[in-house]
Amino acid sequence: MRRKDFIEHVSWTGAGIAWTLSASGLMTAGAEARAATGLTFVQISDSHIGFTRPENPDVTGTLQKTIDDINAMPVQPAFVVHTGDLTHLSKPAQFDTVKTMLGTLKAPVVVMPGEHDVIGSPDAYNAAFGTKEAPDGWHSFDRNGVHFVVLVNVFNFEIDGKLGADQLDWVKKDLAAQKTSTPIVVFGHVPLYALFPQWGWTTEDGAAVLAQLQRFDAVTVLNGHIHQIIQHTEGNIRFATAASTAYPQPAPGTADKPGPLLVPAPALLGVIGYRSIELASGPAIVQDRSLAAG
């Protein structure tokens, strides 16, 4: 099989996951909405409310369009997960805006912080989104026989991509209680594997979690942080980073440093967006959609 074909449409019957992503990155019409037999949820990421620079002078507008598109889905997702960088500068007013906007989603919302949400301290994030049940942010939940794990890898001083000993202890116990056949989905802001450490696109102690995930039949790890879709496979574990709802960043190593990437205004909506993930009895489908596709 040629490399291009492999990327464009792969079906792993063994691991039970099929990606439908174009070779060029975002979007393909792909297999449109199949009969909703299983669980479908939506991932959005990196909204950076408070960002005002030319790369996207209207980040609230593009988040609103994302929300409108999701609310218009014919079958509403079980939930919408936001994988962090809700705000740009951790300001209470920015949290107010994004919380109000996410509150207009028809589906329930699951959130976790990115490093832009905990600048100085996690206080503003916790005031907006903290819960008594998960005071440190990390938690897990089960839906339709799928076990979902929410990790926080931005709370550690001096290292953005780090989980820390307490969280590693917790996740070890949490996963130990799951059956090997249970599908596992893991969320976190910073990529859990060494995607591009030169730019900080890695979780320093992520390997400890990946080791815990190896015994499961099918694992999906969904992250944000890098504002672009990159897929990766390690054994039974499928990784996919998500597009931003705000602005793209350069592909790893293609610029001197990471940061907002300026694209011509008409092209912006084509490189930002959201994704739906369908976990049915058969292969799961990860489908990325740009805001231009709606």
Binding site: H116, I119, F157, E158, I159, G200, P260
Partner: protein, 109 residues
Amino acid sequence: MNALLVAAVAAATALASPSPASPPAYVVHIKDFAYAPTPLKIHTGETVRFINDDEEPHTVTATDKSFDSTALDTNGDWTHTFTKPGTFSYFCELHPYMKATVIVTGDKQ
């Protein structure tokens, strides 16, 4: 009227009393994901102004947590007076690989 009076008194007091934070004698620019100059050598009681020239937000955060600018957006600035001698390492919370140092020696003679 009262408010104006209070403001006037406050202004006069501020002018009369020796300012604890003297005007910044030193400026550290944050540009292209780096602090410059570093290491910066100053004396106790001197003030440093940090200015973010980058398009990305940055912070000036002490490794020992003794000071923290919190988020500095583009063109944002923050001043800090170093009151104790020592070597102070700091970094950017958003980009922790950005590291720099301020070396504070005894009072200026």
